[in-house]
């Protein structure tokens, strides 16, 4: 490097030879940056086409049930919407707030509910914001009767359905693990997502054998591969797996999708 090419940053101009190399470096970046951006984006695994109707609240008539999970059974179609609250909280939080406000319990009662719809893969969730009591009488007949489908062994990933069905992408695996822990700890009904090699996916609501919540016991297994043994019920639109913490076993996530969905 000659004396003329010695670089001094505080001088107005760099020496021409150095400027030439820097220009080449920038030119390389101008080519590399688009290529890199394209390569990174194109090689992602993609995102589910789930929907979160943020900013577009819906108003629906139906009956609220709190057990085995908070549901709204629609009056018009009988469709069963799992209830959650805004943020990372289960439906119970909004229901308690509304109950305090109207001075009456909501379990088993007909309401006009307002909230944000979250839907994907034929499953729908309502992020409950408001509810007006339409009748103060309990309507037990609207509650779906669970049908026992027998003992099953399932392999999948425990996550929260609110993120999984719409509010987040991706809503599974390691990047979403902490969020799923927060959602389930906040009372959102946990689900087991089970997929097979063909790409078919089913979601199983997880509950304890006595129909109570199982959130706390599941937290160490959230976002990881698990094998769960339990009794399967068809509960209206949803499949529900009753299990105990002792019947949940962590497995290598790589072994997921390699067997049948259900044994």
């Amino acid at each position: 490097m000659s004396e003329q090419e010695f670089y001094i940053g505080w001088k107005p101009e760099p020496p021409p030879q150095l400027a030439k190399l820097v220009r080449r470096f920038i030119l390389t970046l101008l080519i590399a940056i688009p290529a890199l951006a394209l390569a990174i984006v194109y090689n992602q695994r993609g995102f589910a086409s789930s929907t979160y109707d943020l900013g577009k609240p819906s108003t629906l008539d139906g009956t609220i049930y709190l057990h085995p999970a908070p549901f709204l059974v629609l009056a018009a179609t009988g469709q069963q919407l799992l209830l959650v609250s805004p943020g990372k909280f289960g439906g119970e939080k909004s229901i308690e707030t509304i109950e305090k406000k109207i001075g009456s319990g909501l379990d088993g009662k007909k309401v006009q509910a307002t909230g944000i719809l979250i839907y994907h893969d034929g499953k729908t969730i309502l992020e409950l914001e408001e509810a007006k009591l339409l009748s103060d009488q309990r309507e037990p007949s609207a509650k779906p009767t669970p049908v026992n489908l027998g003992k099953v062994l399932l392999r999948g990933e425990i996550t929260d359905p609110k993120c999984l069905l719409g509010t987040m992408q991706p809503a599974e695996g390691k990047p979403h693990l902490d969020c799923a822990v927060r959602c389930i700890a906040g009372g959102i009904t946990p689900v087991l997502k089970v997929s097979n090699q063909l790409g078919d996916t089913e979601y199983y609501i997880l509950s304890a054998v006595n129909g109570q919540s199982i959130q706390e016991a599941l937290l160490p297994c959230v976002g990881q591969g698990v094998q769960i043994c339990g009794t399967l019920y068809q509960h209206g639109d949803w499949l529900m797996l009753e299990t105990t913490s002792g019947d949940i076993k962590k497995i290598n996530k790589l072994s997921l999708n390699q067997g049948t969905m259900c044994q």
Binding site: M1, Y7, P12, L21, I33, I40, R45, K174, G186
Partner: protein, 360 residues
């Protein structure tokens, strides 16, 4: 080089540097978001921001880490080093956007404080597959913050170049943790061989350039040890040791020497030879790779200047270097490696029969 602490000393080349830096950052963000919306229109805005800023910050950190060894291997890359601090601060800002959006997305609006959630939601520290990668991201962000916050020359002077340099070397710890953050986080989900390949290529580039630069540095250090000479004649003053020949030092340049653990730069200029400590007071830049410009030793990194006879920056600047006594016997240059206090005037050794080189 500035005698006062401006918030930013806007030299013209810094403006050009920053314009290109911001332009290239914007180009990446626009293209990344554009490609996302074309190939994956179902992506949520939060995920788009998280992925765009995360990948950009990681890319910028790779460029930052490559600039140092590139400059050691080929000094023509020095213009990239001059304003690297702005690149570092920009990297922190992009990383901070990534971190804040991640914390809001995954930890806010829950039943505990978001930061508490980040630290406690996953505590599977014993498993590589389950390792809490977000904590690694947080630790790297803290390091990048400390570096960005102390990047100004005010902190360099307050902390001393040695402490400042040590603090800023923690960028390697941040890089290692970010690499693990990526590999144990999003790569575990995505599993794409191309993404793994790109990450591996980045790591190989950083490690490879550092190894090559270390080898080059080792050669320089070997050359810096003076050749052994027969016992000096009585004409050589006591405590002086042989350094090199006059011809070993290029005109208006220096030769680096390591003598008795002293790192010394011997400069030849205008028929004279002077010796000063080799490390610039600014950021420990290698003065022996500098030049004599306008009668001053000029550091190759940021252009800090010193007078060769006394190691002092010309007024109004106040930086001072240790100086050394030099003796010339015929063609041989001898040096006393005992340093004088910083800024001590020492007469340069005069080259006998010096012929002023013809300038082109």
């Amino acid at each position: 080089m500035s005698v006062t602490y401006d918030s930013i000393h806007w030299a013209p080349q810094k403006k050009v540097y920053d314009k290109w830096m911001i332009g290239l950052m914007a180009l990446y963000l626009v293209l990344f978001c554009g490609f996302q919306l074309v190939f994956f229109p179902e992506i949520t805005p939060e995920t788009l921001i998280i992925r765009a800023t995360g990948t950009l910050a990681f890319l910028m950190l790779h460029i930052i880490l490559c600039i140092g060894p590139l400059c050691r291997l080929d000094r023509r890359f020095l213009p990239l080093l001059y304003n690297r601090r702005h690149l570092g601060v920009a990297t922190f800002l992009v990383s901070a956007i990534h971190g804040v959006f991640n914390t809001i997305q995954f930890h806010a609006f829950g039943n505990v404080n978001p930061l508490f959630s980040l630290l406690t939601s996953n505590t599977d520290f014993t498993s590589l597959q389950g390792f809490p990668f977000q904590i690694l991201g947080l630790l790297s962000l803290i390091i990048l913050f400390l570096m960005a916050a102390t990047s100004h020359d005010f902190w360099l002077n307050r902390l001393s170049p040695r402490v400042w340099k040590t603090l800023h070397m923690s960028v390697y710890a941040a890089y290692a943790m970010l690499m693990m953050h990526v590999m144990l986080g999003v790569i575990q989900l995505e599993k794409s061989p191309v993404l793994i390949g790109i990450t591996g290529l980045g790591l190989s580039l950083v490690v490879g350039l550092h190894l090559l630069s270390a080898l080059a540095q080792l050669k320089t250090l070997r050359r810096a040890v003076p050749a052994k000479q027969a016992a000096a004649s009585e004409a050589i003053p006591k405590d002086f040791v042989y350094a090199c020949t006059v011809d070993d030092i290029p005109e208006n340049c220096a030769k680096m020497l390591i003598i008795k653990n002293e790192n010394i730069a011997i400069f030849k200029y205008d028929g004279k030879v002077s010796a000063v400590h080799n490390l610039c007071k600014h950021q420990n830049g290698p003065l022996s790779e500098g030049r004599i410009i306008d009668g001053c030793i000029t550091c190759p990194w940021h252009g800090y200047q010193y007078l060769p006879e006394n190691g002092q920056s010309p007024p109004p600047f106040t930086e001072k270097l240790h100086t050394y006594d030099v003796h010339i016997d015929g063609e041989k240059v001898y040096i006393n490696p005992k340093p004088y206090p910083e800024g001590t005037s020492r007469p340069p050794a005069i080259i006998p029969n010096y012929l002023n080189p013809v300038k082109p």
